[in-house]
Symmetry: C2
Subunit: 109 residues, 2 copies
């Protein structure tokens, strides 16, 4: 059987690596081609591509081909499962976040 890795697993795993997180953070500054990212970090182009693949499979980024370039950008809703996970354990947060949650619930009605 193939490993039953959930999306949640993939997200946590994708963000666990500092290089990958750095690439993700860099993309929040705007779309960038693999070439650009390779220039920004001190790792090889294949390494960048591999990181991007992991981020893509986690739903955190998206690639768009344009000519010979592939431009990657942050997937806006990609972090949602992570937010949901945290929200699920909101009882252990600060009081501030607790209040915030309650407001949200009232808002939904």
């Amino acid at each position: 059987m193939t490993s039953a890795t959930t999306l949640e697993d993939k997200i946590f795993l994708a963000l666990a690596d500092p290089s990958r997180r750095a690439i993700f953070e860099s993309l929040t500054g705007g779309e960038a081609a693999v070439k650009d990212l390779t220039a920004r970090f001190d790792i090889s182009q294949p390494a960048v591509s591999q990181h991007l693949a992991a981020l893509r499979e986690a739903g955190l980024v998206q690639g768009r081909r344009e000519g010979r370039h592939v431009y990657y950008r942050v997937e806006p809703r990609g972090l949602t499962p992570l937010v949901d996970w945290i929200t699920h354990y909101r009882a252990f947060w600060t009081e501030r976040v607790g209040k915030l949650e309650r407001l949200l619930e009232r808002m939904d009605k």
Copy 2:
């Protein structure tokens, strides 16, 4: 030089492992001794202790010795750095979270 691992790194790394996340989630149900956790999961006691050590170093749980037992519980503010990290990239979230943020700001006034 020794790896200059930040707390943020440790948190992401700690939560990356499904077993460790399961232990953390289990602790949100209330305080538990190592023995209890060992009973709940299908791994050895040393494995549990090792996971707990990683979680503790990440500031996610806290241990309290009582007799020969050590009771672990979730550190309420432990997830804060993770929340902060996500919040920093909130511009890429769903609209729902955007609304939530705005509500919070109004609330603070």
